[in-house]
Symmetry: C2
Subunit: 278 residues, 2 copies
C-alpha cells in the first residue's frame, strides 16, 4: 500500500491510498478518513460507494462528510467505482467500463478479467481496511445512484457483514431500467436470469432484510422516472415485510448539493447502528 | 442577468448567474446561496473571494459552507477570480491573467481593459446583488489565499462597507512575496510605490481597522514561508493597534480540507458582526 495524499481535516486525517488489487487485477485507489477518536480507540467503518463517472475523489471533496465522521468517530472508506488503467477494458460511454463498474462480478469477455467490483467491495477491500487501519471490525455501507445500488446489493447479499445500509437516489431495479440493462447485458450476458442476483428489488423479495433501510430521494432528480423508480423498491420491501424509510425530498436533484444536505443524517443513522451492543 | 444553475441545498438554493460586467468588459459568472430564511426576511451578505486558478465553482462545491449559511441566514456570494473569455488578456502561467486577477485595478497594458477586479468586487457586484436578491444591505467579506488578500484589501480600503472581514491563509504582503510581485509588476507596472495601496500590511499601517480581523492559517501550508508570511501582518496590526485574531492550525495545509474544517467558525464570526445593531 502506498499513501498518495494525507490531509488534516476536521481534526482527523483525509488520506488517499493506492494498492494492487488481486480480484480486480489492477492498481486501485481509495480515500479514507480517520477521525481523531481513532487515535485513542478502535472505530467502526462506513463504506461509501459513488455513482457513474466518479472515482475516490468526488465524495471526499464534495459531500462534507468528514465533519460528521469525526463527530461520530467513524472511519470513512471511499473506493473507486471500477477497475482502472491502460490494460483494463473500457467503453467510450460514461455508463459502461471504467467509472461504471456497477458493483457486480462480470462473467463476460472482455470485462471478466477486471470487473469484479462486488468481490472487491465485499471481501478484498474490507480485509485490507480492517488489517491496516484502527477499526473495531464493525462496518456499514452507503452510496449514491449506481453506488446506492451497490450498497443495497452488498447489504442484502451479506446482511451479517453490515450493521446498516442507506442510499441516496439509488438504482433499485437495474434489471428494469436502461442504465442497469445496458451494464448487465455487457457484464453478465444475455441470460437475464443471471441478472436477478444483482438487483435490489429481486434480492429483497427473496432474502428480506433484518434491519431498517434508509433512502433519500430528491423529487427534482432528473433520473427519477427513467432510472431510479423508488416505488419499485417500496413495493418489494412491502411484500417482503422489510422496514424501509424512503424520504422524498422536495426540490432536491441528483447532485452532491443533495447529498451534502442529508449526509449528516445518514451518518447519524449508521453511527447509531454501529454503536449497538451485539 | 441569466440564471445558469439552480440547485436545492440545505433548505436553501444554490444558484449560478451570468451577467455582463461593465467594469470588467466581459461576461461574468457568480454563485449565490440563498438561505431559507430569505423567503421571510431580508438577509445580510457574505462575499467569498477564491484563490489562484479558482472560479465561482470551487467554494460552492468544496467548502460545505451552505449548511452554516442556512443556519445563520446569510446570503453567500461567490464571484469568479478574474475576467474571462476569448477577448480577455491571459498568460500561460497559473498565477497571472485569467484565474489570477489579484483583486486590483490594473493600470498596465494589456491588462487594464479587463482586469479591474477591485472595482468589480467593491462596487459593481454588490450593487447587482443588493438590487436583485433579498438582502438587508449589510455585507461582510472573506477569502482564501489570493482571495484572502482580496478580502483584506477590500475591507481595509472600505471599512464602512464591510461589517467584518476574515481570511484563510491570505497573501498579506503581496509586495514582498513572489506571487504578488509578479502580478503587481504585470498589472500595476514597475513603479513599486503604486503597489502599496493593494498590500494589506501597508494599508493596515496607514489606515488601521476599527474591528477585529479573523485569520486561520495551517502550519503545514506548503506556501506558508514563501508566499503567505502571516508574521508580517501580525507586526503591521500590532503597530497600528488593530485587533487581529490569527489562529495557527497545526497540521492543516492550503487545501479546501482546511477551509471546510473552519468555515463554520468564520461564518459564525461574520453572522455575529452582521447582526449587531447600528
Amino acid at each position: 500500500m502506498q499513501q498518495l495524499e494525507r490531509k488534516k481535516c476536521f481534526n482527523g486525517r483525509q488520506d488517499v491510498w493506492q494498492h494492487a488489487s488481486e480480484v480486480l487485477n489492477c492498481t486501485m485507489r481509495f480515500g479514507v478518513f480517520i477521525p481523531e477518536r481513532a487515535q485513542h480507540e478502535r472505530c467502526p467503518v462506513l463504506f461509501w460507494l459513488s455513482g457513474l463517472t466518479c472515482n475516490e475523489q468526488n465524495f471526499m471533496l464534495k459531500a462534507g462528510a468528514q465533519r460528521y465522521a469525526d463527530e461520530h468517530g467513524l472511519i470513512l472508506v471511499m473506493p473507486d467505482t471500477s477497475p482502472r488503467g491502460d490494460g483494463v477494458a473500457d467503453d467510450a460511454a460514461y455508463n459502461l467500463g471504467q467509472g461504471a463498474g456497477f458493483y457486480v462480478n462480470a462473467t463476460q469477455s472482455p470485462w471478466r478479467t477486471h470487473f469484479n467490483m462486488y468481490e472487491y467491495i465485499v471481501h478484498e477491500l474490507p480485509a485490507l481496511i480492517h488489517s491496516h487501519f484502527p477499526t473495531n471490525g464493525r462496518q456499514s455501507i452507503s452510496g449514491h445512484s449506481m453506488g446506492g445500488h451497490g450498497a443495497l446489493i452488498c447489504a442484502l447479499k451479506h446482511p451479517e457483514r453490515y450493521f446498516s445500509v442507506s442510499a441516496f437516489a439509488p438504482i433499485v431495479a437495474p434489471t428494469q431500467v436502461p442504465w442497469g440493462q445496458k451494464a448487465f447485458q455487457a457484464y453478465l450476458g444475455d441470460d437475464t436470469s443471471a441478472w436477478r442476483e444483482w438487483d435490489a428489488c429481486e434480492l429483497v423479495k427473496i432474502k428480506g432484510f433484518p434491519r431498517a433501510i434508509l433512502i433519500d430521494q430528491g423529487t427534482a432528480d432528473e433520473f427519477l422516472d427513467s432510472q431510479l423508480k423508488p416505488s419499485l423498491f417500496v413495493t418489494a420491501c412491502q411484500a417482503a415485510g422489510v422496514a424501509l424509510n424512503l424520504r422524498l425530498q422536495p426540490e432536491y436533484d441528483h447532485s452532491y448539493y443533495f447529498i451534502s444536505t442529508f449526509i449528516g443524517e445518514h451518518m447519524a443513522f449508521h453511527a447509531h447502528a454501529l454503536r449497538q451492543m451485539n
